[in-house]
Symmetry: C2
Subunit: 217 residues, 2 copies
């Protein structure tokens, strides 16, 4: 053996940089937000409910790990995910966590415990129904995120406009609402509202990241 120990240490150290980037709850939340589309620091801070200073510091870390990229647009600095693989990584680590951590499953259950039911998981059949017009796939995220990427055949009505724009939705058809993913509560609220108004509404707990559609560049 030559100096293998030293080299090995370097290798694992580098991989650990990715782990470190993923070891903070706020940074994970920022990654998930960026999977919806590029955003300014201000927007990210607001949507993650943290100060801009803290957001800036965390984004700095993420950039050091080359997981996100920046572009200056006038007064604003726009952050985006560096790569589609980053979105896949977020989905992977999250589902590993759900698989391994009982505590996490408990929180999820409690979150959806006032239960609107879940949509059927089966992607192909959902797309088929949407294509034929048998179901309406409804994207309740902010309009710019819909623009950046959305599920096939989805139409966009942001959650805060839903009440006013109910008439755009055909009665008698199943409405499948989705948002940023399983940890986002917008689709849940949308389903609640729709059901109150007499619609047949389901929540799809997946979003663009889970479907492998996260926007890059």
């Amino acid at each position: 053996m030559n100096h293998p120990r030293h080299i090995k240490d370097l290798l694992y150290e580098q991989v650990a940089r990715i782990g470190k980037a993923a070891s903070s709850p706020k940074r994970l939340e920022l990654i998930e937000l960026l999977c919806q589309g590029e955003k300014s620091v201000e927007t990210l801070a607001r949507e993650a409910a943290i100060s801009m200073k803290l957001a800036s510091a965390h984004l700095r870390e993420l950039r050091a790990a080359h997981l996100v990229e920046t572009e200056k647009q006038g007064k604003y600095v726009i952050y985006r995910i560096a790569n589609r693989d980053v979105a896949d990584f977020w989905v992977t680590i999250r589902s590993l966590a759900e698989d391994r951590l009982v505590e996490l499953r408990m929180v999820i259950e409690q979150m959806v415990s006032h239960p609107r039911e879940l949509a059927p998981q089966d992607r192909d059949s959902l797309v088929r129904m949407a294509r034929k017009g048998d179901a309406v796939v409804l994207d309740v995220r902010p309009a710019d995120e819909f623009l950046a990427a959305h599920l096939p055949f989805a139409r966009s009505i942001p959650l805060d406009e839903l009440k006013q724009r109910l008439s755009e939705l055909p009665r008698g058809k199943t409405v499948v609402a989705y948002c940023r993913g399983p940890y986002c509560l917008m689709a849940r609220d949308a389903v609640e509202l729709l059901r109150k108004k007499g619609y047949d509404a389901l929540r799809l707990p997946e979003g663009v990241a889970e479907w492998g559609l996260a926007p890059v560049r």
Copy 2:
């Protein structure tokens, strides 16, 4: 909104537990070792070149994140990976790191810079050749790891026995040597030795974890 912030914080906090577990180089190395097969603390400490106390402390963390499980066998405590998904996670985070971090790619190049060439990547054709006997797939890891899981049609000659057991390898056939994965140097050394002895030898930089064959239970 009810108390969504509080709940969301809990969710990301849980996922971050997995990230934390993956944020230490030593812990990643331990995970990789455990992907080869179950091992005692002592063995893990020796192979990761750390003290038993430190190994124990890191394994404690991994167990707290439910990534590994333990079983007491007499004097020894045997650790194993909790789930095949853990091995997949290790492969995922490592390839994301290789994709994103230039520094990591540089270390890898320098590691293989005295270059024995790499094997053809293509798994199906490798298996086909091995089945027909056109190539010998050689597992140079310790015998117990071969026993726990190995590539299809592989035969086992641990690196430290290779010199004595050269006669077992047929001349004139290509020998494809593999070990624990791309960060392991045993296959590299084996190829070096074999070439000196006149064999046509290649290194396959993948191991059982990369092939989705990591042993569980």
